[in-house]
């Protein structure tokens, strides 16, 4: 079965770009434009991994990750942050919040896909 990925980004361009990259790599992709929307999708769907931005309206990426990590079923869900904040401090915040990996935009397609694959236990 195809693995299901949720892409969370407020930019429509980035959303469709990442969706395209991941779909080409053989994954099923759904998108959300902010943290709240992402949580709604997560609660009704079944996802294997999240790719999320940090700066978003309504609920930002860090808050979303913290919310998820508090719940047992999302405790181990792989989350990749893809953001344009490249400060060391931001990266630390991201990891502390509970992200598995922190990637800085612009991420080249291969790096994104490979990080996704590395986190998916070799089952894809």
């Amino acid at each position: 079965m195809k693995k299901n990925i949720l892409v969370v980004d407020d930019s429509a361009t980035i959303r469709s770009l990442q969706a395209f990259i991941l779909q080409s790599a053989g994954f099923k992709v759904e998108t959300a434009s902010n943290g709240i929307e992402a949580l709604e999708k997560l609660y009704c769907g079944n996802f294997d991994l999240i790719v999320a931005d940090i700066n978003m309206p309504k609920m930002d990426g860090l808050k979303m990750i913290e919310t998820l990590r508090k719940q047992d079923i999302y405790r181990d869900l792989p989350i990749i942050i893809v953001t344009s904040e490249e400060d060391k401090e931001d990266r630390e915040k991201g990891l502390k919040a509970g992200a598995n990996v922190y990637l800085v935009k612009p991420t080249d397609p291969k790096t994104l896909v490979m990080n996704v694959k590395m986190l998916l236990d070799g089952e894809f």
Partner: protein
């Protein structure tokens, strides 16, 4: 040890499932030899190995995983026609199946040492087998990248530079997450958010290094992840010792990742560290404040996998229903007894009592059938292993043999099926080894070159009949007589008196074997006497029929089930005894003058045939209170094709009883098969007809 391996339910399920898959694989492989191109069969076998691979990896049974993975590869090659189906390849796959089987049984045994061997990273036996396979299928290893990523043991020979950079960048992030969380845990060992963070990072590192084929990194992170998952389960503060181990693990991981980054350097020795982790996982040391009971069980008593039996849901439902009815029925009895106390209308109570008793009788009868039924299995579970056996032995002996199996659906007590396995194996081995002639000899005799062995089962009344029949050279009673005398099993004089049938019976005596030399097949120290003993222990009988140059047939008769038998109650010397109905031919009343003495033996004429008669009181050496009667009750019993009339004092009714085995000093009393408790609490000894006949002859 893997946490799932300590769960008897999971391990039991795994063992049952794997046994089923291996059995099915064996059958399919035999078919495959006949129809080598059948893709369905190849797919089925492939799937069986695939399933075992999957579930064993889940349990951390590394060797099982590796072996089934290899076999799966071979099947894949056969499927893709990269390798041809030959008897040699099938032999090889069978060999693999055998190793898998022995591992599965090791797991089932629950013995820690054996299981640990299978969880090891390398076992000689498996390595050698894999090399043997590699040699025989010319292309050694599947070079598919995905395969490599999955199998951590296969090292990637060259690491793609681009991929390496992506890995390193992620790996350093995992490391920094671990570092921060470890520091945090030192200050607050109860912060589970931090434990979760390390778990996540460890898991990420494990799967990433797996992707890259970095086996050392993978192993270290795998073990730490497992320990972390225990810590999470326990929900107790992490012990300083455990933290120190994580610290050590962190340093090793850091060094290893540095070596990846720089592309040079000597990898540190991780074995010692892995050893410590294993020990911790096996529960010999505490992980967090309080170790949980699972650990204690593991280090203390071994948990042996329970014997399981698969039960159709419908039967279980039926049982449940019956039990609820029983509970309701109990209520009825209770109410009656209460009202009895308060002196109610007796006639009404007695009617109610009768009704309640009727209901009770129906329920217990149904319960009895259902539970007995649960204990029954189709004999197929036993027969299915013989095609493989026949194939292997006949290949080894250079004989061509068709095995014809019939009556596989016949049901037999599960315990008996297990106990019949060895005797049947021996009979079949004998048939191939001694019975069926070599192809040349058969041709000379004008027989079809392939020999035939028929294995059949059927049910007749309360008896299950199993036959093993071959169309080989048969046995010569005369030769058997001479051999027995020569071997000193019987003296010459007595041997002369034996008729053909009794000559044949000599083969069941200890120390008898007509094989001219001990072959490695039949001469494994098991003789026909062992076969007979096994059958008799099950209250069964074995008979042999043979005709020179036509073949030999062994007939085994077994009671359908061991526990409940129909018996006839009789009385001798003021004592009640029970005789199994299955061995009673008839009961008679004859007048005392019809019994005559011929050479020390009492006989009577029954429909023109001589019937040996013996007084049961004398036979059992009970005190004889001779009350001469005109009409003497006689029970004619039958066993092993022989009849005997037993003179008893009184014949009573038939009864259905539950046999209880005898224990202690009376267990060895020859004439007794067991004992039963009657409804009124009386204990009745059950007589063993076969023994009685034997005793009357000697």
């Amino acid at each position: 040890m893997n946490e799932f391996l300590t769960d008897p339910a999971i391990v039991g399920e795994f063992v049952t499932e794997s046994r089923e898959h291996l059995e099915s694989a064996e059958q399919k492989l035999l078919q495959l030899e006949k129809t080598p191109d059948d893709p369905e069969i190849l797919n089925d076998v492939f799937r069986s190995f695939h399933t075992i691979k999957g579930s064993s990896s889940f349990l951390g049974l590394t060797q099982l995983t590796e072996l089934s993975h290899k076999l799966e590869n071979v099947l894949d090659k056969l499927r893709k026609k990269a390798v041809k189906v030959t008897p040699e390849i099938i032999d090889l796959i069978f060999k693999g199946v055998d190793i898998l089987k022995s591992f599965i049984e090791d797991v089932a045994s629950g013995e820690e040492e054996k299981i640990e061997k299978i969880t090891n990273s390398s076992v000689k036996e498996v390595q050698e087998f894999i090399e043997e396979i590699n040699r025989s299928i010319e292309k050694p290893e599947n070079t598919d990248i995905k395969e490599k990523a999955k199998d951590y043991r296969i090292k990637k020979t060259e690491v793609n530079e681009e991929e390496k950079q992506v890995f390193l960048s992620a790996a350093y992030q995992y490391l920094s997450t671990i570092r921060d969380a470890l520091d945090g845990l030192k200050e607050n060992p109860s912060n589970f958010d931090l434990v979760n963070a390390i778990f996540r990072a460890m898991h990420s590192l494990k799967s990433s290094s797996d992707y890259m084929g970095f086996s050392r990194i993978k192993e270290i992170s795998r073990y730490q992840e497992e320990i972390l998952s225990r810590v999470r389960e326990e929900e107790k503060p992490v012990l300083p010792d455990t933290l120190n181990l994580f610290e050590e693990g962190y340093r090793l991981l850091f060094d290893l990742i540095k070596i990846v980054k720089e592309g040079k350097g000597n990898p540190p020795d991780i074995q010692e560290f892995l050893g410590k982790m294993k020990k911790l996982l096996e529960g010999k040391e505490k992980i967090s404040e309080k170790s949980f009971p699972k650990n204690k069980e593991l280090s203390g008593k071994k948990e042996v996998v329970e014997k399981t039996i698969r039960v159709p849901e419908a039967k279980l439902d039926l049982l449940m229903n019956l039990v609820s009815e029983l509970v309701i029925n109990r209520g009825a009895f209770f109410s009656i007894s209460q009202r009895l106390d308060s002196g109610y209308d007796i006639s009404r109570l007695s009617r109610e009592m009768k009704e309640a008793t009727q209901t009770m009788r129906r329920i217990t009868a149904e319960l009895q059938t259902t539970v007995t039924d649960l204990h029954m299995l189709p004999i197929k579970t036993l027969f299915s292993k013989f095609p493989r056996l026949v194939r292997d032995i006949s290949r080894e002996k250079g004989k061509k043999i068709n095995l014809e199996i019939s009556g596989e659906e016949t049901q037999l007590d599960k315990m008996m099926i297990e106990k019949m396995s060895d005797p049947l194996i021996h009979l079949i081995r004998n048939a191939i080894d001694h019975g069926i002639e070599s192809p040349g000899e058969r041709e000379k005799k004008g027989k079809p070159v392939p020999g035939t062995i028929k294995l059949s089962a059927s049910q007749e009344g309360e008896t299950v009949i199993i036959q093993v029949e071959d169309d080989g050279r048969g046995m010569d009673p005369e030769l058997i007589r001479q051999m027995a005398v020569k071997k000193g099993i019987i003296d010459r004089e007595r041997a002369k008196l034996l008729d053909k049938k009794r000559c044949l019976d000599l083969i069941f005596l200890p120390g008898f074997s007509t094989a001219r030399k001990v072959t490695d097949i039949s001469g494994r120290g098991v003789g026909m006497d062992v076969v007979r003993d096994a059958v008799e222990k099950l209250k069964g009988e074995i008979e042999v029929d043979t005709e020179l140059n036509r073949g030999t047939r062994f007939t085994i008769k077994l009671p359908l089930t061991m526990a409940i038998v129909n018996v006839l109650l009789i009385e001798v010397a003021n004592q009640l005894f029970a005789l199994p109905l299955s061995s009673i031919r008839e009961t008679l009343k004859i007048s005392s003058d019809k019994i005559n003495k011929i050479i020390n033996k009492e006989v009577t004429l029954l429909r023109g045939d001589l019937l040996g008669v013996v007084n049961l009181t004398d036979l059992l050496r009970l005190p004889n209170n001779k009350r001469k009667k005109e009409k003497i009750p006689v029970v004619v019993i039958q066993s092993g094709g022989k009849n005997l009339g037993l003179v008893v004092d009184e014949l009573y009714k038939q009864e259905e009883i539950v046999i209880k085995p005898l224990e202690g000093v009376i267990a060895d009393t020859p004439a007794l098969a067991g004992a039963a408790i009657l409804g009124d609490g009386k204990i009745i000894p059950i007589l063993d007809p076969q023994q009685l006949i034997y005793m009357s002859e000697n």
